[in-house]
């Protein structure tokens, strides 16, 4: 039984079957990649997982609780953090504040009227955030305004913001989309480092095979809204169905 269980999920947009009978199980402490060509339904599936879309039928269970119909912040409070295609950070705030906000969210929940306390007196939160920044080698940048950093650093910061909450599942939505090769490799190294350092479950939606094969423990191949195969990277590499899905008829 995996920590994330997707069972029989269907989603239609008008005449288009975006997801058809998707079954997926992500086991704890593994990196599970979901790949597929453009239009395979990867993003739709992700939006279902984070509560942005409600499927027509089927269930999505996280640790025994349904995530369907919940607000994104409730899903986060259940223990799912999300990394976006383009880093979503608090661009006007300093790096340390960016990391302190998730710490507050973890400690205080979705809302707390803590208007009289001072951020300056929250020593635990600050230490927690600084330790996290140290972990991703960004401690020297803590007082920088986040918007002036390089794209690679923004990605690193977003990762830190997710990891500091110690999520039980980290969702990554094409973390290397639109990146140059060097940036892509940096991101892969960062993810590998994270995977080695801590027990973490990750689900990666990705287009780039290179990223997937160097990280994933298991891979699900999605095509036209349905999972084709699910297996280890080694087996997926040579799988005829995968070649067909990615390369079309020409592969025969």
């Amino acid at each position: 039984m995996g920590i994330l269980e997707v069972k029989g999920v269907n989603k239609r947009f008008g005449g288009l079957q975006a997801l058809g009978d998707v079954n997926l199980s992500v086991a704890e402490n593994t990196v599970h990649a979901i790949i597929g060509p453009n239009g395979a339904g990867k993003s739709t599936l992700l939006n279902v997982l984070v509560g942005k879309l409600i499927p027509d039928s089927g269930s999505v269970m996280f640790d025994g609780n349904s995530v369907l119909g919940r607000q994104p912040y409730e899903i986060n409070q259940m223990g799912i953090s999300r990394v976006f295609q383009t880093p979503e950070i608090f661009a006007d705030l300093s790096v340390i504040e960016n990391v302190m906000i998730p710490c507050f969210a973890k400690r205080d929940g979705a809302f707390r009227m803590h208007a009289i306390e001072s951020v300056g007196n929250e020593k635990n939160i600050r230490e927690q955030a600084e330790a996290m920044l140290d972990d991703v080698n960004m401690l020297d940048k803590r007082n920088m305004i986040a918007s002036v950093m390089s794209r690679g650093d923004k990605r690193r910061l977003e990762m830190a913001m997710c990891l500091v909450q110690e999520p039980r599942l980290l969702l990554l939505d094409e973390p290397t989309a639109g990146m140059a090769r060097a940036d892509t490799n940096n991101t892969i190294d960062l993810l590998k480092e994270i995977k080695e350092k801590r027990d973490i479950t990750m689900a990666i939606i990705e287009h780039d095979m290179h990223v997937v094969f160097s990280l994933a423990d298991r891979i699900t191949v999605l095509a036209q809204g349905t999972p084709l195969v699910e297996d280890t990277p080694e087996k997926i590499k040579g799988h005829p169905k995968v070649k067909e899905a990615y390369l079309g008829e020409a592969a025969h």
């Binding site: 912040y73 906000i101 507050f104 969210a105 809302f111 707390r112 001072s118």
Partner: protein, 395 residues
């Protein structure tokens, strides 16, 4: 001190000294000099400075921190004024119940209006708040005449109940006997300084408001509000529900507006629907942006500047202009007066508009940014001096 760090404590102390000494600081010109018309140190005007300062401080908690631009905050100010005058009519001229009720009424209405308006963000939020404010204005102006006294405006009549009114109670707003209109004059040579009771009550309320706003800015709550402005999407995916935060900010700023309205009534116990009009809502937006949205002291400066222009520029007339340019040849004098005529008197809005444009274009951070730039200029000069001093021996 008071739960603030040293920098904020210093700021609070500076503001407190300025506010307390305002009757002297704002009266730099001797009473019978030609420049005396630029003096702002009389209670009526100073009350406006601090009361609209409170209004703008509160507005800044919503707009400056969360980025939600309300175009209807004058509605809460107007409700506060009506509530206060009703307290005068029903109980007595004591300002304490009046001010308390004005804050409570504004809070109650801002919960409802905020809850509905905050279902949308951006321009739609602004339009919703504007719509609510205009509805309130229209209701106060006509439909609710029994409560608001319509276009005549609400005031206290001699046959009002005033059940707590004692035999010797003053017949004007007072704080346990201290009359709001009471003043003490201090004559020093050519200068006359007037210290008004009402001003000092309003000034103390402003300092309290400023202190609370300081605490909010530095709190985790304030951090969350800034996060709402910066990236609401990230905030929800970080496990925070933005809506209660924005609603809390909306209600707090509504209460500030109610307090300002209550104080306006406490200074002068009558009110009318025009306090709720959209131009009044727009004015607080101008104040906040002019001073520097999202900064601590900016809104107070902006409120002061606008109220100063409104009261001083609008009093300059052609006669005064002729006096100023009397040294010029007649033709040139008339020419100068004709040129400047649209910018003074009733045309003070034109001056305000030009100043506003200049600030938005050249100083997007408002007056506070201007101050910071000047400060930096001096610092750079100092460090230049210091570095040249240290490099000299090396030569």
């Amino acid at each position: 001190m008071l739960g603030l760090d040293t920098k904020d404590t210093r700021l609070l102390i500076i503001v407190a000294i300025m506010v307390m000494a305002a009757p002297i600081l704002l009266n730099p010109f001797p009473a019978d000099s030609a420049m005396a018309q630029f003096n702002a140190g009389y209670p009526d005007l100073m009350q406006r400075f601090v009361i609209f300062g409170i209004f703008a401080i509160g507005f800044n908690i919503l707009f400056g921190l969360t980025g939600y631009l309300s175009f209807g905050h004058a509605a809460f100010l107007g409700m506060g004024s009506y509530a206060a005058v009703w307290m005068f009519k029903l109980l007595s001229y004591n300002v304490v119940p009046a001010i308390l009720l004005s804050v409570i009424v504004a809070a109650a209405f801002s919960v409802v209006i905020g809850y509905i308006s905050l279902r949308r963000s951006g321009i739609y939020f602004s339009i919703l708040t504007l719509a609510f404010a205009q509805m309130s204005y229209a209701l106060a102006y006509s439909v609710l005449t029994p409560i608001t006294n319509g276009e005549t405006g609400l005031q206290v009549y001699t046959n009002d109940p005033q059940i707590l009114m004692g035999e010797n109670s003053p017949n004007v707003p007072h704080l346990f006997g201290i009359e709001m209109r009471g003043t003490a004059d201090l004559e020093l040579g050519a200068w006359t300084f007037t210290f008004g009771n009402g001003y000092y009550l309003a000034a103390l309320m402003m300092l309290l408001s400023f202190y609370i706003s300081l605490r909010i800015f530095r709190s985790p709550f304030g951090l969350m509000l800034r996060a709402v402005k910066s990236n609401q999407n990230r905030l929800t995916f970080t496990g925070v529900s933005p809506k209660p935060y924005t609603l809390a900010a909306f209600v707090i700023s509504g209460m500030y507006a109610g307090l300002a309205g209550g104080l306006l009534a406490a200074m002068d116990p009558l009110t009318g629907a025009e306090r709720m009009q959209w131009t009044a809502s727009g004015e607080v937006v101008l104040m906040t942006i002019l001073g520097g949205a999202g900064t601590l002291i900016g809104p107070v400066l902006g409120a002061g500047l606008i109220k100063y222009l409104e009261n001083i520029f609008s009093k300059i007339n052609d006669g005064i202009l002729h006096q100023w340019f009397a040294f010029m040849p007649d033709g040139l004098e008339d020419f100068m007066v004709t040129i400047l005529h649209p910018f003074i008197g009733k045309g003070w809005h034109l001056t305000l508009g030009l100043i506003f444009m200049a600030i938005v274009i050249f100083l997007p951070g408002g007056l506070v940014e201007g101050g910071q730039r000047i400060g930096r200029l001096f610092k750079r000069r100092k460090t230049d001096d210091a570095s040249s001093a240290t490099t000299k021996p090396a030569e």
